[in-house]
């Protein structure tokens, strides 16, 4: 298992390098010009200097190399400095001062380091999208278990219908629909997520929960649909197995048979599916964040795209790719750990 994990980790490095190279070269083809907004009165030689200052004048391979250095060498240094300097967890360590004012990955829109902006945006995304994921899973598991246990019952049929609807209605329809129902007609929840809202007492916590409900509902519907389908299918696979009959024949109660014997075995594929979908939390839900005006990662990516902010787009897509590769690996390892029948070596 350990050798498998190490081998996969080592293999992930060239994969990620290749992905980053592909994304970088794709972005190089971008027709947009970062100098498009500069007034025409600026003389061409000054423009050329500005271009150089943005790092656009160099050949693409040099630019790619510099980006690699910035992401894999300079940004970790900044991060370690932050850890030893001002974080509460490792602040007791002596200040390392590795970062010597080298150039970091700079956003063309804001002229500030990309990683700083990403770190500002992550909490909103995690709050909304992460919460929706947790809520979705918590709803999905019981539905999946019960509808498999009572296959073809009314509960199962209606559960299947609801999950089908969850699959089929896109978030850009459910979002406006919920806004019309709950914030326009009923007036219960705000339609726009207020990111500047600070939680410091019960009233503000209540408001925070209220503004989270709508986006969480939209996203949780989709998670629920997906996970409960998997849970149902996996339970159905196990319910007809011989060991279940043996467990019943021993005289175990139905509750024990279902929740201990069947459920534990059925959870194996479900857990890997859950792990595989985690990167999409960090990726943010681009559409849902757009509908509810949550300024999370997804919204950051789309504004950066429209503004031709190539370093930002590049770094964000690369972070997503890293997360996808990482969680694929985690899912594989979890599968091996949970199921002793699976052997990788």
């Amino acid at each position: 298992m350990l050798t498998f994990a190490v081998r996969r980790l080592v293999l992930a490095v060239p994969t990620l390098l290749f992905i980053s190279f592909v994304i970088f070269m794709l972005l190089q083809l971008a027709p947009g010009d970062p100098m498009a907004q500069v007034p025409l009165t600026v003389p061409p030689e000054v423009k050329e200097k500005m271009r150089q200052a943005l790092g656009v004048g160099e050949p693409p391979l040099v630019q790619y190399w510099k980006w690699l250095v910035q992401v894999f060498w300079i940004e970790p240094k900044v991060f370690i400095d932050y850890l030893t300097n001002s974080s509460t967890l490792l602040g007791w360590l002596p200040d390392t001062q590795l970062y010597q004012d080298e150039l970091r990955v700079i956003s063309w829109q804001t002229r500030s380091p990309v990683m700083d902006i990403v770190i500002q945006r992550i909490p909103q995304t995690l709050w909304v999208v992460g919460m929706a994921y947790v809520v979705g899973i918590l709803i999905a598991l019981p539905i999946g278990i019960y509808s498999a246990y009572r296959q073809y019952s009314v509960f199962d049929q209606s559960g299947t219908f609801i999950t089908m609807i969850g699959f089929s209605i896109p978030p850009f329809f459910t979002g406006p629909l919920l806004i019309v129902i709950f914030s326009v007609q009923l007036g219960w929840f705000p339609s726009i997520y207020d990111t500047t809202h600070v939680v410091n007492d019960w009233a503000s916590l209540k408001y925070q929960l209220q503004q989270m409900i709508l986006p969480v509902m939209v996203l949780a519907l989709q998670t629920t649909a997906q996970i409960s389908r998997y849970m149902r299918a996996s339970m159905l696979d196990n319910l007809n197995q011989d060991y279940v009959r043996t467990a019943r024949a021993k005289g175990l109660s139905e509750a024990v048979v279902v929740t201990v014997h069947v459920l534990r075995n059925s959870m194996i594929p479900v857990i890997t599916v859950i792990a595989l979908n985690v990167p999409s939390i960090f990726g943010g839900a681009i559409i849902t964040e757009n509908v509810f005006k949550v300024n999370g990662i997804g919204q950051l990516l789309i504004t950066a795209l429209f503004a031709n902010d190539l370093p930002m787009v590049m770094t964000l897509t690369f972070i997503f790719a890293v997360l996808i590769v990482l969680f694929n690996l985690i899912a594989d390892i979890l599968y091996g750990l949970l199921d002793p029948r699976i052997r990788y070596d």
Partner: protein, 326 residues
């Protein structure tokens, strides 16, 4: 002594061969019988047929130009609003109402449906072709397996929606110049959806081919000198048809949703070219006054995708010989 043995012994009743009672059944008849039992799938297939016919034949039956501006009749409500609100501006000539520029909503829905369905079908077929080719190559040609599967893994680990957005914003201009504003966008969206969604099909097909090609009938085919191409065409492809059909329905559903999502985010077709996603996106601004402009295209998208999903569910059951006949 012994009794004389009869020259022709009477046949034992239980061992008698009754002969075939009913004519042999073909595989597809079995599939159809199983499929017919799945109510959701029948509804789904029926609705998909209906909506396809509606968008294909609709413009001939409802001959109103979707692009025509009729500013005097702008902001008409659909005809059924008159049921509860007698003061609403409605007109029988515009049963679904008009938008803020007076364009007929029914004609727009039909026109938008044409685009959405065309994109969905084209992207689905293209991605099936790519996925099946890669899957068959990887499963059948041992040398290509490692490389192609690494390629599939690579594509699977690309972040899809961000890349879609990147690619659309990047290649919009050159393709528009090459194929015209609508044609260029069509090529771009279909191509991008296909390129980013062929991987599951390829994996499934490869897995099935790997198992199939060790079977005896392939050995038999090989021993009578069938060329590899004919083996694939005659013996392997028909056997992987059912997983391909199931993933085709899923692909159609995702392609329709992805196209609408791109239109919703404003990177889809040009603004005067209606698609369901674009109609929905344009109407969100004035959703409070004119909710039907959001509901109609939204319901159209959702029902189409729902019916495709149910169809896929039914197909999966019908094509699985282990479930069939139960």
């Amino acid at each position: 002594m012994t009794e004389p043995v009869q020259a022709t012994p009477t046949p034992i009743e239980a061992l008698a061969d009754k002969g075939p009672l009913e004519p042999p059944r073909s595989q597809w008849k079995d599939v159809w019988d199983q499929f017919r039992k799945h109510k959701g799938a029948m509804f789904g297939g029926g609705f998909l047929l209906f909506i396809t016919l509606a968008v294909v034949l609709g413009p001939y039956l409802w001959q109103v130009d979707a692009q025509k501006l009729d500013i005097r009749n702008k902001d008409l409500r659909p005809i059924w609003t008159a049921l509860w609100d007698s003061g609403a501006k409605t007109a029988w000539s515009r049963p679904f109402g008009t938008d803020q520029l007076g364009r007929d909503q029914l004609a727009q829905i039909i026109q938008g449906g044409r685009t959405s369905m065309a994109v969905g079908w084209a992207a689905m077929i293209l991605s099936l072709i790519i996925g099946t080719t890669v899957g068959v190559m990887a499963g059948f040609v041992r040398k290509a397996d490692g490389l192609l599967m690494r390629l599939t893994d690579l594509f699977l680990s690309l972040p899809i929606l961000p890349l879609l957005l990147v690619a659309v914003t990047l290649f919009r201009q050159p393709l528009r110049e090459a194929f015209g504003p609508e044609g260029g966008m069509f090529v771009l969206i279909v191509g991008i959806i296909a390129i980013t969604s062929w991987m599951p099909t390829a994996r499934i097909v490869r897995g099935d081919i790997l198992a199939l090609k060790e079977r005896e009938f392939i050995l038999a085919a090989r021993s009578i000198g069938t060329t590899p191409f004919r083996i694939v065409q005659r013996h392997l492809l028909p056997n992987v048809l059912s997983p391909i059909m199931v993933s085709a329905t899923l692909g159609l559903a995702t392609a329709i949703i992805t196209e609408s999502a791109l239109s919703f985010l404003g990177v889809g077709f040009p603004s005067d070219f209606p698609t369901w996603g674009k109609m929905l996106a344009d109407a969100v601004q004035r959703m409070q006054q004119f909710p039907e402009r959001v509901y109609l295209p939204g319901i159209a998208i959702s029902l189409t995708v729902l019916s495709v999903n149910y169809l896929g569910d039914g197909l999966r059951d019908a094509l699985d010989p282990r479930i069939r006949g139960r």
